[in-house]
């Protein structure tokens, strides 16, 4: 199948816009892990992150004809997913004046939020615990940052986007993005001191 052998993302997007489902499935396979990482770091909840990525990818298929520049697919689908994740955070904050149950997050074991021990981890408990601990620690700390700061920080530090790309995606100036990321980073550094 031609789509499966295509490496060039722009060609895949054009074929998907033409209605080639197989080409879109390649795009899904290619981006789902990255989008899940962003959503998980923003939400710190596996189920919510899965829902967000699912909705974002299905929505991107339905709106794909609106994407004028196929090579912009990566940032475009990231924008859809990150906005959806931010909306989930805002809705949760509105539902509860207590917001995220910080204590519950901090009490959660390192294996729980990422779906528990995997078959690969069974033979390597030390590595699995270390990986879980690092990811969990970072995701947990992030919950204490304001949601706009958190999203900018995740897009920058986790997804590797530039300030300019984030500014375009979030709809604010580059200096605002820089400020948000700096504040999030400062909070993370402060919280890291508490670990000792």
């Amino acid at each position: 199948m031609a789509a499966r052998t295509l490496v060039d993302e722009r060609a895949l997007v054009l074929r998907a816009q033409d209605g080639d489902v197989a080409a879109f499935e390649v795009l899904v396979d290619r981006h789902q892990g990255r989008l899940f990482r962003i959503a998980y770091m923003v939400l710190h909840n596996r189920m919510d992150a899965e829902d967000v990525v699912q909705e974002a990818l299905v929505s991107s298929w339905k709106r794909l004809h609106l994407l004028e520049e196929p090579s912009a697919f990566r940032n475009w689908v990231t924008q859809i997913a990150s906005r959806a994740a931010t909306n989930v955070v805002r809705k949760a904050a509105r539902r509860s004046t207590e917001g995220v149950d910080q204590q519950a997050l901090e009490d959660a074991g390192p294996e729980s939020a990422l779906g528990g021990a995997t078959s690969r981890n069974v033979g390597q408990p030390e590595r699995a615990a270390l990986a879980g601990a690092q990811m969990e620690a970072l995701a947990s700390i992030l919950q204490s940052t304001e949601e706009n700061q958190r999203t900018c920080w995740v897009l920058c530090e986790i997804d590797g986007m530039s300030y300019r790309e984030i500014a375009q995606m979030v709809g604010v100036s580059e200096s605002t993005v820089r400020g948000r990321i700096a504040r999030a980073r400062s909070q993370i550094l402060d919280r890291m001191k508490d670990w000792r």
């Binding site: 060039d8 074929r15 033409d18 879109f24 339905k62 779906g115 690969r120 990811m135």
Partner: protein, 185 residues
């Protein structure tokens, strides 16, 4: 530089405002730990994802749900009128039409179909269908090499016209080929 035994007007010791060597070391250490953590998390996620570890990506169920939803949406697309047969008028899904054209383009060696657009005659049926296709514009990528691109375009055009005639009895059709990209074979 920290002034020895310095207090400001508010009685705050200068060490609270100005970083001394030990503070700077502490800050440097904290920054290094921060950078190490970020790097470590990246490495771990990348490794786990490359190994197909289910804990750092969508579950198989979630992936399957996405693909099912896309295929269901695909099946519910618009319909296009075709030349009537002896059994009467009929329509074809736009996606089926696109698939026929895409397969025809892909059948030419070294050519990859990208995106195709259609012009239609005014529909004779309801407003929810599109009329008979009158013009097809195929955007394609051709293998970079020594083949003459005009020949490649002609070959693609011939393949598309033949497929449309064979599968849909579309005969009065203009087909434009636009070589938009070159790729390594």
């Amino acid at each position: 530089m920290e002034h020895p035994d310095a207090h400001d007007r508010n009685g705050t010791h200068a060490a609270d405002r100005v970083s001394g060597p030990s503070d700077r070391e502490s800050d440097d250490e904290a920054t290094q730990r921060y950078l190490d953590l970020i790097r470590s998390v990246h490495d771990e996620w990348t490794t786990l994802e490359a190994e197909g570890d289910s804990s750092v990506q969508l579950s198989a169920t979630a992936l399957s749900t996405i693909k099912e939803a896309v295929r269901a949406d695909f099946r519910h697309g618009a319909h296009v009128e075709m030349p009537p047969t002896a059994a009467g008028p009929y329509t074809l899904s736009e996606q089926a039409l696109r698939t026929v054209v895409r397969n025809a383009v892909d059948s030419v060696p070294g050519v990859i179909a990208l995106r195709t657009t259609f012009d239609h005659e005014p529909p004779k049926g309801g407003h929810r269908t599109r009329g008979v296709p009158s013009r097809i514009r195929c955007r394609i990528s051709a293998a970079a090499g020594d083949r003459d691109l005009l020949e490649v375009a002609d070959e693609v055009r011939t393949a598309v016209i033949a497929a449309c005639r064979e599968h849909m009895d579309l005969t009065d059709l203009r087909v434009d080929i636009h070589i938009e990209d070159l790729h390594d074979n």
